[in-house]
Symmetry: C2
Subunit: 342 residues, 2 copies
């Protein structure tokens, strides 16, 4: 954390489908609403044009001009190494150099992860940093970890995910002693593939509140506060949830347009449908932190609007103020001292 009292959060203003319009708007909303200062990296001219649309305390937003932008279709590691003056690389370097307390980007996910890994580096004791998005369960938000950073995992990685996810759920969602579950094909011990069977054994001795396996059908209900899985499975869970919900909304809409009576009915339930859909609105959730690197890195959804950006800023503020980086490192060191699992 920097020495100044007011937190400084840097945002890659060029990252995301709606950049820089929504990234800039989100930053302006954040400085008005929270006690933070923002740094925006990217094309100065485009950013200033957007900033000119709003009134805000000028000292609270700084713009740093960058000559390059990393596009969504670029190879992550290559892009990070080549585009030193990209809005993303410059932003991550500001955290490394202590000039900012957290970095947010809605850009190329792979590049954000690669940047976090290669520029900030892994925490001592963490083998695989992981993405930890919120999952919109019926009971309320849960944390899913890994949301896609590590397609292939070892049991030990899942144990680290459990430690990090548990701390994060406690800090972000304010859940005391959150229950941690392993995504598996059955609830009973002994079920699963090689990875989950071995991970189960490690989890039994883990320093968090392990509740056992969770089957995929119980993920949406909110059975688990922290949903642990490898990044391949995590990606499937997040995208399938989105796909099933989207398909259901679409079919429901078609069904409701099929007759005048149903159309009238649809009109009467409009507010119900709206508040229902809101529960599945990612922009409520901010972004996914990349936990396990030396700094607060938040990946916002690619199609983030200003509200999602603002919520990601709020989220990064919580993570800085609750000291998540130091606490993860402490917990992992305790774990490493206790076990000899590599």
């Amino acid at each position: 954390m920097t020495e100044v009292e007011i937190l400084k959060i840097v945002i890659d203003a060029m990252g995301g489908d709606n950049a820089p319009q929504e990234t800039v708007k989100g930053a302006v909303e954040a400085v008005k609403q929270f006690n933070v200062n923002m740094i925006l990296t990217g094309e100065e001219k485009a950013i200033n044009e957007e900033l000119a649309k709003y009134s805000y305390v000028k000292e609270k937003i700084e713009v740093i001009n960058c000559s390059e932008t990393i596009e969504n279709d670029e190879k992550p590691v290559f892009a990070i190494r080549r585009k030193k003056d990209s809005s993303l690389v410059v932003a991550i370097n500001m955290v490394k150099d202590g000039k900012a307390d957290a970095i947010i980007s809605a850009g190329n996910t792979g590049a954000i992860l690669a940047g976090g890994l290669f520029i900030l580096g892994r925490m001592n004791g963490i083998n695989r940093p992981a993405l930890a998005p919120a999952y919109p369960a019926a009971k309320g938000d849960a944390i899913l970890i890994d949301g896609g950073a590590n397609p292939d995992c070892k049991p030990r990685n899942l144990l680290e995910f459990g430690v990090m996810g548990s701390l994060y759920a406690n800090k972000l969602l304010n859940i005391d002693n959150p229950n941690v579950c392993l995504v598996n094909v059955g609830v009973e011990e002994g079920k699963g593939n090689e990875l989950t069977k071995e991970a189960y054994e490690l989890f039994k001795e883990a320093p968090f509140n392990f509740k056992g396996n969770v089957e995929a059908r119980d993920v949406p209900t909110g059975y688990a506060d922290v949903i642990v899985c490898d990044g391949f499975t995590g990606n499937i869970i997040l995208k399938l949830t989105e796909g099933v919900a989207g398909t259901i909304f679409k079919i429901l809409k078609e069904e409701l347009m099929k007759s005048p009576i149903r159309k009238l009915g649809a009109l009467l339930i409009k507010s119900g449908i709206r508040s229902f859909k809101k529960r599945f609105d990612y922009s409520e959730y901010g972004g996914a932190p990349f936990l396990g690197v030396k700094g607060v890195v938040i990946k916002a959804h690619g199609s983030s609007n200003s509200k999602a950006i603002k919520n990601a800023i709020r989220q990064s503020k919580i993570l800085i103020e609750t000291n998540i980086v130091a606490d993860i490192e402490k917990e992992i060191n305790l774990l490493n001292g206790k076990t000899n699992v590599k």
Copy 2:
């Protein structure tokens, strides 16, 4: 296939949450509706009590008494080896001995798979038989393979799943040259975990219509006719789809009960909701064949009602009549002759 002209299908009458009531009722409905004869294995007394409730041509249903039943919580391989006179083992043996053309069970999934593997055996050239349930996509049914038989897979196994799934989609769903997709974390070649990256290479040379990767968000839309994945991922996809749909229905219902106006609206759209829910009703789909063993084996949903059982019988009839077992063997032998992938 047996020499007689009318197909004989054996059903484990004791398998499933609603057995023998619904298994018997489904069998009765089937002999009335399709040109099949049924054999029911299980407790003769209980089965006959159920049969007595219906009128049907007595010659079309035969009952074989068994002294044992495999329960849902029994260890599959152990149960198959020990309970030789169980309704499941006796039923599978009838297929092995040529006394029946197909076997259906709604019982212990692991035991059905173990029975298929150990009693009937794998087809020549198939390393891993797989479950192939229908997936209720928006565009219409798709086939998902593997639905959960093999939690850990090698790339070569996925290739076999593609061959079997493609033939099955053609025969059951009547799709010409069905498109086959690999479930993955991105559509681009090169994405994925080790398994899917290597499988992608094999799929490029495969004898079926490989359309590339499918992301989980496009599984519910019906982008793929045949959805190929390892059994762990398949289980996640099936159960998460069920879980998300169930949670959405529940939340929607809650929202619609929150005010008198919404309640009135809900009343007007009732028929719409009903036909909407019907699309997600597993009982329309029958069961999942266990493809790659020497015989037609169908696993029906554990909570099958008589309609689901009847549909599983219809499905087994199609599979027998279209010669799926012989055709899979032929296709796999061609593949093995052509490639040297082990």
